[in-house]
Amino acid sequence: MTALIFLIFAGIAVFCGVSLVAQTHPIASALSLIGVMGSLAVIYLQLGGEFIAAAQMIVYAGAIMVLFVFVIMLLNAGAEATSRQIPLLSRYVGMFLLAAFLGLISFIIQAMLPKTEGVVFGAFQGGTAAAIGRKLFTVYLLPFEVTSVLILIAILGAIVLARREV
């Protein structure tokens, strides 16, 4: 059962990922990204990440992607002009690099990872909002607070860069 779910959603994720790369129109890419996120959320659940799964849907798929789509609409960015020549380096070398990179990582994963028991749904209960919240306000208090600055900067940046001339 677990395996089936994993395979299905992993499949979706990869498919959407590929389409993100393949699609020439940004909107299409954006939608496929949302697809990836959605399927990942499911996989998170499988790994016992209730809270994260939720956050994934709300923050990512919800907030961030909306922002993206919004901007895309705002700039009504059309499909890429395919006529444009892609630099050779990027085209061929990039292909090779990618393969190499993936190969490396997977090799490491396969060869080096200590063999542990497989994933069973519900084997890990620590990912509840409660658990996370507890941690967040005790051990990870400082980073949590500091992130507020991050948001502040984000706002500030948005204002500075995007506001209309006064």
Binding site: L89, S90, V93, L97, F101, L104
Partner: protein, 613 residues
């Protein structure tokens, strides 16, 4: 005895004239110049009288010049019999020539310059003969070379004069090269340069039959001597040196400086006597020089050139003397030669002076009636140099030739032949100058007393100078050689024959000379052009050296190779830069590609390979 006073007087004269001469009146200049030399002459006489028979060497120590480790060079002066002879010659003849110059240089500008140089020369020459070790001797040695350079280039507006000066200096430098190397070897061998120490040590060394250290030393010294005393192969500078004023030729290039080589060789007798091979070299070089120079002398038309080559030839004689072991004879001839050759030059000077600078014999003739004193005094000198019986030359030259016979008869015969030629060309010159019709355009006149006076004095000396028995006087230093009347008369006879031949050619049968010259044209031109030696040296040494230095070394190696490499490095690194900057295509995706590439490399390097170390 305050020996140092002897050279100091001329030095003072030099300083006074050199620093203030520009503003001084001639009378003052004369006073300083002649006075200083006169004083040192006087002091020499006083010293020698005071020192008496000089059985042993008399040494005075002044101060340490150089001291480094065991190497200690003192400034010491010493007098022994050899030095005594030299001192007398140098100061005596020098004084006469100074006086003579007053008249000769009267019209020249840079009068003070001339005399200050002359005094400087006296200083160095006296240092040379008084020196008690090789390095101090070398000081004088180089110093006289410098003065010769300055005086040859006295007419510095004329290219030929300055060039001759350079030539003299540089050729001498080649000689000095040998001399200094000899010094290094001597110090290396004996741990000192002091004459007494060194020669005593040398006396105890076995006589070398191979090219051992002593022989090498002697040969190097010989190289030095050939430079200074104008022997083959370095004699080429002397004829050109005639570019200087005639008194200079007389003093430096006839009487004193050029004999320094002879003096130095005689001084180092202790070495040479233990290095027979070197001795042979000396003798052969001397003989060759004597002969070759004589032949060249036969054909010269410039009166000073004639005497110049005869000087070279006579110096050759002296070296023969030294080479065959008759050191005293060599020195003896040195002295007499100083008399008559100085006289010859001064006489020639008087003639030139009388003819307003004309030097070409073909433009002379019949001068006897215009300048009697000059003519007669010159005649004496000519007799002396021809070895006419009972003139000074007769004794000294024959002493040498006899010794040569003892050593190897063939040397004697060559020497005799040379003597004949000498007599011939000297009288050729005399006849061409004084007999027959005047062929020039100037208005000949006799020189003033200040010039003729020295002439007469020297004439006297060259006639009777031979009766000063130098060999006997030097007996304690050098072994005396056996007399041999028989041989002496033969050579004298040949000399007379030479004179008669000259009379025949240039008085009795005019034109015989020319027909003779035509008859053996090839030899004549060859001789007339001094065997093309100068041209040879130019073509073989000078020009190639300059050319190579310019094209190969400077343009090629320096500018091309080395600097090329250096700048090449610069250009290369620019090149590298221009390639490296291409990484910055400005395109974000290319950059990303680089990042990926980099990360893969890092992964491999750190993830796996890193562990290997």
């Amino acid at each position: 005895m305050l020996l140092w006073l002897i050279p100091i007087f001329p030095l003072l004269g030099f300083l006074l004239n050199g620093l203030f001469g520009r503003k001084l009146p001639k009378s003052m200049i004369n006073l300083f110049a002649i006075g200083s030399v006169a004083l040192s002459f006087a002091w020499v006489v006083k010293t020698l009288v005071g020192l008496g028979p000089l059985e042993t060497k008399y040494i005075e120590h002044y101060f340490t010049w150089i001291q480094s480790g065991p190497l200690q060079i003192n400034v010491d002066f010493a007098v022994d019999r050899l030095t005594a002879v030299m001192l007398m010659v140098v100061t005596g003849v020098g004084l006469l020539i100074h006086i003579y110059s007053v008249g000769y240089m009267a019209e020249e500008d840079g009068y003070y310059r001339f005399f200050s140089y002359l005094n400087l020369f006296m200083f160095f020459m006296l240092v040379l003969v008084l020196a008690q070790n090789f390095l101090v001797l070398f000081v004088g040695w180089e110093g006289v070379g410098l003065c010769s350079y300055l005086l040859i280039g006295y007419y510095f507006l004329e290219q030929y004069a300055t060039t001759a000066g350079n030539k003299a200096f540089i050729v001498n430098r080649i000689g000095d090269f040998g001399f200094s190397l000899a010094m290094f070897l001597i110090f290396r061998q004996f741990g000192s340069l002091d004459f007494t120490k060194v020669f005593d040590a040398a006396k105890n060394m076995p006589s070398e039959t191979t090219y051992g250290t002593l022989t090498i030393i002697c040969l190097l010294l010989l190289l030095g001597a050939t430079g200074k005393s104008a022997q083959i192969p370095l004699y080429v500078w002397l004829p050109d040196a005639m570019a200087g004023p005639t008194p200079v030729s007389a003093l430096i290039h006839a009487a004193t400086m050029v004999t320094a080589g002879v003096y130095m060789t005689a001084r180092s007798a202790a070495f040479f006597m233990h290095a027979p091979i070197a001795m042979d070299w000396v003798a052969i070089i001397g003989l060759a020089t004597a002969f070759v120079a004589a032949t060249i002398g036969l054909a010269q038309t410039d009166i000073k050139k004639v005497f110049a080559y005869s000087t070279v030839s006579q110096l050759g004689y002296m070296f023969v003397g030294l080479g065959v072991g008759a050191f005293s004879a060599g020195v003896f001839h040195l002295m007499t030669h100083a008399f008559f050759k100085a006289l010859l030059f001064l006489g020639a000077g008087a003639v030139i002076h009388g003819l307003h600078g004309e030097q070409d014999l073909r433009q002379m003739g019949g001068l006897f009636k215009h300048m009697r004193i000059t003519a007669i005094t010159l005649l004496c000198a000519s007799f002396a140099i021809s070895g006419f019986p009972f003139t000074s030359g007769f004794f000294s030259k024959d002493a040498i030739l006899v010794a040569a016979y003892e050593h190897a008869p063939w040397m004697y015969w060559v020497g005799v032949l040379t003597a004949g030629m000498t007599a011939f060309y000297v009288f050729r010159a005399w006849f061409m100058a004084f007999t027959g019709e005047y062929r020039g355009h100037a208005h000949p006149h006799e020189s003033p007393l200040v010039m003729t006076g020295p002439l007469m004095l020297l004439a006297g000396l060259s006639l009777v100078g031979g009766f000063i028995n130098i060999p006997h006087w030097l007996e304690p230093m050098f072994p005396e050689k056996p007399e041999n009347q028989m041989l002496a008369w033969i050579s004298a006879g040949v000399g007379v024959a030479g004179i008669l031949l000259a009379y025949l050619f240039y008085v009795a049968q005019r034109g015989l000379a020319d027909s003779f010259a035509k008859a053996m044209n090839g030899f004549y031109t060859l001789v007339y052009n001094k065997y093309y030696i100068d041209e040879l040296y130019n073509a073989v040494v000078v020009r190639p050296l300059v050319a190579i230095s310019r094209t190969v070394l400077w343009r090629g190696v320096d500018a091309g190779l080395i600097d090329g490499t250096v700048n090449g490095v610069g250009t290369r690194s620019r090149g590298i830069g221009s390639i490296l900057r291409l990484l910055q295509s400005g395109n974000i995706r290319t950059y990303a590609a680089w990042v990926v590439l980099g990360s893969i490399v890092v992964l491999i390097a750190i993830g796996f390979a890193g562990g290997s170390k």
